[in-house]
């Protein structure tokens, strides 16, 4: 049959082969992601796809290294001038794709635009302004002492102010950020990054070419052309790699990890991620959840290690807190506390020995195996006589229900945009306050003003050791109080062909620095 089919199909495959061969000489990279960037305007949406695009076509002032320290990029050096001011020295001689040269004025233009962006303005809220000292020196000023200036600087990808200013032929403002509708920036791009966008067909393919005047001449990257194809279906994406159709894929679904590991032509890289998955217990809907003993009983009843091993196939790190290892707030002393007998005893103490019935909701296409995780948790809760009425929904419908706090227990995954612990508290456990926006995703209605005050204090503490101690204390208090049921941090996985050396460019933020990628 091999020969028969080979003869039948050989002609077509052979005809396609010379294209692939000549492409190899110029180091072309074909990659498949689960989605492509929705726009070329990097300030229009804060999402993984857009950040990936930002790193390919722009450069940040500083960027994260894989050990969560900072690496200078467009900012050569920086120093704290006083509590509220950080001075940056900009790299000289950096060119934009348009040919314009990067100066401090571009950074100011970018910061002003970020503060206008609906998605980014929250991150840049602490910043009150920018002082331009000279063409290559500027100061970022915050209204209060702010420990996360550098974390935030990873989001400042200077835009070409000349390119994005003025009016289009149609009389539209070039700097406009439009969520819905065509803006100049959503279709045109000029950054300092290693690649320019040469072709884009949304949802089908995107092509990049190496920027000739790229400033970072020390970069080992040797990829001249990148073709990005969005492949949403997990199976198809893996097949595309195994059949040699693409060189690099992400994300890799847990069910296919073994298959890729076994394949002799493929290379799999996994690392522990920073997105935490947890359940919130709504105290407003269920009286019993006001009792810390009941919440603790729930925490004791859940076997995080079992979920990570069986449902996530080892592709997750069991969690007992929100901050992953490497974050300032990560408290080493907190460990998962699965103990059914203890849980039953706590329920008895609280007077709920016979249990009660709760409703539970989870998405079924947002996080890795989210619906299966919810089913497992529901089953585990039956050990303490809790009957769970579980409903899983597609993400498009889930978040509406989440905003309405429509179930007694709801699942959420959270990744801190600032790569910092305080962000978890602010969104997930702060006392909900519609005016300030605090606790926007606190579907448990858990409220502990003392912890909130502690985190607020940490947010203006620029002594990082003191700050870490405060945040770790906050994690410990929430743990003791069983404010929520943490499950795990989702691991990250990428896979490539053997000749694509992806490991050095990967990091826990899940945007590979493709400018430095080496293809052998």
């Amino acid at each position: 049959m091999k020969k028969l089919i080979g003869a039948l199909l050989g002609s077509m495959v052979l005809a396609a082969a010379p294209v692939a061969l000549s492409a190899e000489a110029t180091k072309e990279l074909k990659m498949a992601y689960d989605a492509d960037p929705v726009t070329l305007d990097i300030h229009e949406q804060l999402s993984g796809g857009i950040l990936q695009l930002s790193h390919m076509t722009f450069d940040p002032l500083v960027r994260w290294k894989s050990d969560l320290s900072f690496e200078p990029r467009l900012a050569e050096s920086w120093e704290r001038v006083d509590e509220n001011t950080m001075r940056f020295k900009l790299r000289e001689g950096v060119k934009f794709h348009s040919g314009n040269e990067l100066t401090a004025a571009d950074v100011k233009f970018t910061l002003d635009r970020l503060k206008r962006s609906q998605d980014f303005k929250a991150i840049f809220k602490p910043f009150s302004g920018i002082n331009i000292i000279d063409d290559y020196t500027f100061e970022l000023v915050t209204s209060e002492p702010y420990p996360l200036v550098l974390n935030t600087a990873t989001y400042i990808f200077p835009l070409d102010s000349e390119f994005y200013s003025g009016q289009t032929e149609g009389g539209k403002d070039k700097s406009a950020i439009l969520k819905h509708g065509n803006s100049f920036a959503s279709e045109n791009l000029s950054g300092t990054g290693p690649y320019t966008v040469t072709r884009r067909k949304q949802g089908v393919r995107m092509e990049f070419e190496r920027f000739e005047d790229y400033w970072d001449t020390d970069s080992p990257g040797n990829v001249g052309k990148i073709v990005l194809t969005p492949i949403k279906e997990n199976n198809t994406r893996v097949s595309a790699l195994l059949s040699g159709g693409v060189d690099f894929i992400a994300p890799v679904p847990p069910n296919d990890l073994e298959r890729i590991k076994r394949d002799k032509n493929a290379n799999l890289v996994t690392m522990s991620g920073t997105r935490v998955i947890l359940f919130q217990m709504n105290q407003e809907r269920v009286e019993a959840f006001k009792d810390p003993k009941v919440r603790q009983a729930f925490a004791y009843a859940i076997n995080q290690e079992g979920i990570a091993a069986k449902i996530m196939k080892g592709f997750a790190t069991p969690a007992a807190q929100m901050s992953p290892a490497g974050y300032q707030g990560h408290n080493e002393s907190l460990a998962p506390r699965f103990d059914v007998e203890k849980a039953q005893a706590l329920m008895k103490e609280a007077g709920y020995e016979d249990g009660f019935t709760i409703s539970m909701m989870a998405p079924n296409n947002r996080y890795v195996n989210d619906d299966k995780i919810a089913q497992a948790v529901a089953a585990m809760l039956s050990r303490i006589n809790i009957k769970v009425d579980l409903k899983t929904l597609p993400k498009a419908q889930y978040w509406t229900e989440f905003d309405n706090r429509a179930a007694d227990m709801m699942l959420i995954g959270w990744h801190a945009d600032t790569e910092d612990s305080a962000n978890f508290f602010e969104f997930l456990t702060f006392c909900p306050d519609a005016d300030s926006g605090a606790g926007q995703y606190n579907a448990g209605n858990y409220c502990n003003p003392e912890v909130d005050a502690l985190v607020d204090k940490a947010s203006v503490e620029t002594d990082l050791d003191k700050r870490a101690a405060m945040l770790q204390e906050a994690e410990k208090r929430l743990y003791d109080d069983a404010a929520f049921v943490p499950l795990h941090w989702q691991d990250l996985a990428w896979a490539s062909k053997k000749n694509v050396n992806i490991e050095p460019v990967l990091n826990v933020m899940n945007f590979p620095y493709l400018g430095d990628l080496v293809v052998e």
Partner: protein, 349 residues
């Protein structure tokens, strides 16, 4: 003829009106389109501003009237995700789907007619029994499974070592059951030829055709057995009829009886079913296109649903409704050509 067309056009308008009403009625259940448009940490106030801009806060009736008013002028609204008119997005995705459906239809026509006719003329031949057996299996395998198996066999490749490789015959058997892989498993390839408008075709390059093979075979696999069985059954029935016996008695050659007299009458019901099935095939493209990341209407529609891109969903449903009406109208016209005694409007001639 004119009366017939007028009748069909008014039917089409009615169908599209009903579809648009239904689509609007269920839109609340489709989820919040904003979830895909903004990041998680965007505040409720900011979201409210965008909702207001998009007109999502108006009552459904107001939204529908606004939509209907624009629709009468040929504007079905803008897709939230693509930030472009929904009809333009559909026009960009339509060619890929049409090529897929054309490819699958060609496979069906060129395989089902000869096999069906052969199986009807020689029902006892082992080859007929073989084809009938295969078609029973084929009809019961879901299309996405077919697709995944095809990808495994012909894109990734399978190495078999069931037989002892030391001996010559074992190695030969292993080779016989192993496959090389190498067929494209996703997308339409790099080598497309621009025809006109939004139509970039993969039909004119070897790379484009290679990309078509597996998706077309998968899509055809679901309909092919049905047509083989339908043609066989119809043909066998026709062969029993009086006029065929009379022709035999008259001494006409077997070929003339089978292929001129019998086949023509066999094809009438087949064409009717075919017209309906082409519409259903457009629906099956949703599965096929998802598995092969084929950038056509089906994949676009599925993604629009996960993104709650309501204008695009409504526009897609209306366009597909239109395709159904048009294909059925064409089938009725062809019907008239094949059998002149059929009157389109049902009136007496």
């Amino acid at each position: 003829m004119l009366a017939f067309l007028v009748q069909r056009i008014s039917q089409a308008l009615l169908v599209m009106f009903v579809i648009s009403v239904i689509a609007f009625a269920i839109q609340d259940g489709l989820g919040d389109p904003l979830q895909e448009m903004v990041g998680m940490s965007v505040s409720e106030e900011e979201r409210e501003v965008i909702r207001e801009e998009l007109g999502l806060n108006d009552p459904v009736l107001v939204q529908y009237l606004r939509f209907a008013g624009n629709a009468l002028q040929g504007d079905l609204g803008n897709s939230y995700f693509y930030s472009k008119p929904a009809l333009e997005v559909i026009a960009e995705h339509l060619p890929a789907t049409l090529e897929l459906v054309i490819g699958a239809s060609l496979i069906i026509v060129f395989l089902s007619v000869p096999i069906g006719v052969y199986a009807a003329i020689r029902p006892q031949a082992w080859l007929s029994k073989f084809f009938m057996g295969i078609s029973t299996v084929g009809i019961s395998i879901p299309v996405f499974l077919t697709a995944i198996v095809l990808i495994q066999l012909f894109s990734i490749g399978v190495t078999v070592n069931w037989f002892p490789s030391g001996s010559g015959w074992g190695q030969w058997l292993n080779d016989f059951f192993s496959t090389d892989g190498g067929m494209p498993s996703y997308g339409r390839g790099d080598d497309l030829v621009h025809l006109f408008g939004t139509w970039d075709s993969g039909l004119f390059t070897s790379d484009g055709l290679a990309h078509l093979v597996l998706p077309c075979v998968s899509l055809a696999s679901i309909m092919l057995p049905l047509f083989i069985r339908l043609i066989r059954a119809e043909m066998m029935e026709v062969l029993q009829s009086d006029y065929i016996r009379y022709a035999r008695a008259k001494g006409l050659s077997a070929d003339r009886i089978n292929f001129l007299h019998a086949l023509k009458n066999t094809m009438l019901p087949v064409i009717t079913v075919g017209g309906v099935q082409i519409g259903i095939m457009v629906a099956y493209t949703i599965l096929t296109e998802t598995v092969f990341q084929w950038p056509g209407l089906g994949l676009m529609f599925l993604e629009a649903i996960t993104r709650s891109d309501i204008p695009l969903i409504v526009a897609y449903l209306m366009v597909v409704g239109l395709i159904f009406v048009v294909t059925n109208t064409l089938v009725d016209l062809i019907y008239g050509l094949v059998n002149p005694t059929v009157k389109l409007t049902g009136k007496k001639a």
